[in-house]
Amino acid sequence: MTTIATPDAAKADAAIRVRNVSHHFGEEGEARHVRALLDTSLDVERGELLCLIGPSGCGKSTLLNVMGGLFEPTTGTVTVGDKPVRGPMPHDIAFIFQENALFPWNTIFENIMLGMTFQGVPKSEREDRARRALEAVGLDEFADHYPSQLSGGMRQRAALARALSLETSILLMDEPFGALDEQTRMVLGEDLSVLLSRSKKTIVFVTHSLGEAVFLADRVAVFSARPGTIKEVIEIDEPHPRKPEFMTSAKFHTLRDRLYELLHDEIRKSMSQSAKPKRAYEDAVAKGEA
């Protein structure tokens, strides 16, 4: 509550408004009951890239799912523009997940087309938009490959293309590079920065990586250990697209150290907790909760 770092003037223009959101998994008293998120409020400004960072199990993915309408929060409200979020909002919000969420039985091209079918894009526009999205992520030559024929990095590029083709104003990314090796994620991070500086999208990006957060974000929201809430929001004042040189600058290191300082105690705290929340979270995803 006390940690909203957005000035009041900016609130009028917030793309996503999160108010006093708490989320529990399971019923009170049950063995599986987990308080994942506690009384969190946050404004995501239009056109910014906001990173959520925190120890594992702190509820940052939960918050992302709540923002996108995939989980219904136990208490609190989320509004996108001026609409309250009560379920998926495919016309405003596109997701990119950590796991490979491409349909394995469709080619990359078909995957992108299918996303637009789900969203309700008129048939005549789909092919054009799919081609453009593939070009934007540099995968035009792989349109007819199946996901299993691509590397992990390419699959995430394809997932990004699918999300871009939906032409939503908001992108929610849940550790999109989490399963990739460091070198691949560095390159993808750079590409993302370039791509997004052009697109003016509002992005919320969950990550574990301090470097990734500093490199990509306009603001970084740091979570406390479970039950998670936002501890502090840090501004990264550096224009997009960010150059690789930024990563070796003194500014980068100061910011990264500041983040580490904020996170250090929370990580210790979370490590002394059980692994329960991860499982509760996965169960909720499997159930398709919301």
Binding site: P90, E99, A101, F103, N106, G115, T117, S148, Q149, A286
Partner: protein, 270 residues
């Protein structure tokens, strides 16, 4: 050192070793060899050792196809059996898919009814064949019904298994893009189920074949089953084996058709 070192010329690999390597690289050769060997053994046994009342050599069986087809009633029997198989298989697929989807797609359905399906599948149905005859008569209906009950369970189980181990993230992802229930069924669940569904159909096909032929053997008024018992009772092994060979060929062709379709639909799995 050099004094004690002996020059051993590496022996060129022996014939046995070379044959072994060749076989490992060409598994089809060994397979064909075994089949041929069995045919030769059969030929020898039938020609010189076994009473011709009980066994005919494969060479004779092969040339008896014309004879079999010329036997009065056999072409009609083939047609009838094929008709029964086709009908029974279609019904088994429909029931299997409908029940499989209903049971597989809901947790409630799965918990409540899956045990019943497993139990029914476990019953050796041959014991209740007379009941089928009683209810459906001695015509095609009872054979079709018996074929259906043999074929539908493997298909059901395959459909249930097919819709169950689907990755949750795919459903979530589809939902986030605005997919309706129908679209999820059509574009996520259906394609995911296809490979498992086809292997179920192959098992189901075998089941249908078994059910229909068993019923025909038991009631013995028409169809291939009827003629197999006629040929057996007349001690005519040539025609019997000819008929069986035709039946086997038919089963193999049907099986292969489904397998090809399966490969085609599951080509994304590589």
């Amino acid at each position: 050192m050099s004094a004690t070192t002996q020059q051993i010329s590496a022996p060129s690999p022996g014939i046995v070793l070379r044959l072994k390597r060749y076989m490992l690289r060409h598994p089809g050769v060994a397979r064909l060899g075994v089949v041929l060997l069995l045919f030769v053994a059969w030929e020898i046994a039938a020609r010189w050792f076994v009473d011709p009342m009980f066994l005919a050599p494969p060479s004779k069986v092969l040339f008896a196809f014309d004879d079999v087809l010329a036997t009065r009633g056999v072409p009609a029997a083939l047609r009838l059996t094929f008709f029964e198989l086709a009908i029974a298989f279609s019904i088994a697929v429909v029931i299997g898919v409908v029940v499989g989807l209903a049971v597989g797609l809901s947790k409630f359905g799965n918990r409540s009814f899956m045990p019943i399906i497993l139990l029914l599948y476990g019953i050796p149905q041959i014991t209740i064949l007379p009941i089928f005859i009683l209810y459906f008569g001695i015509g095609a209906a009872s054979k079709i019904a018996f074929g259906v009950t043999h074929g539908m369970f493997p298909i059901m189980m395959a459909v249930v298994a097919g819709v169950q181990n689907i990755k949750p993230i795919l459903m979530v992802s589809a939902r986030s893009m605005g997919a309706s229930r129908w679209q999820i069924l059509r574009y996520v669940i259906y394609p995911h189920m296809i490979p498992s569904f086809f292997s179920g159909m192959r098992l189901g096909m075998t089941g249908v074949l078994l059910g229909v032929l068993l019923a025909e053997l038991y009631v013995s008024t028409a169809g291939i089953g009827y003629f197999t018992s006629v040929f057996t009772q007349n001690f005519d092994p040539t025609k019997l084996l000819g008929l069986v060979a035709m039946l086997a060929a038919m089963a193999i062709v049907l099986n292969e058709v489904v397998r090809r379709a399966e490969v085609h639909f599951a080509r994304w799995r590589d």
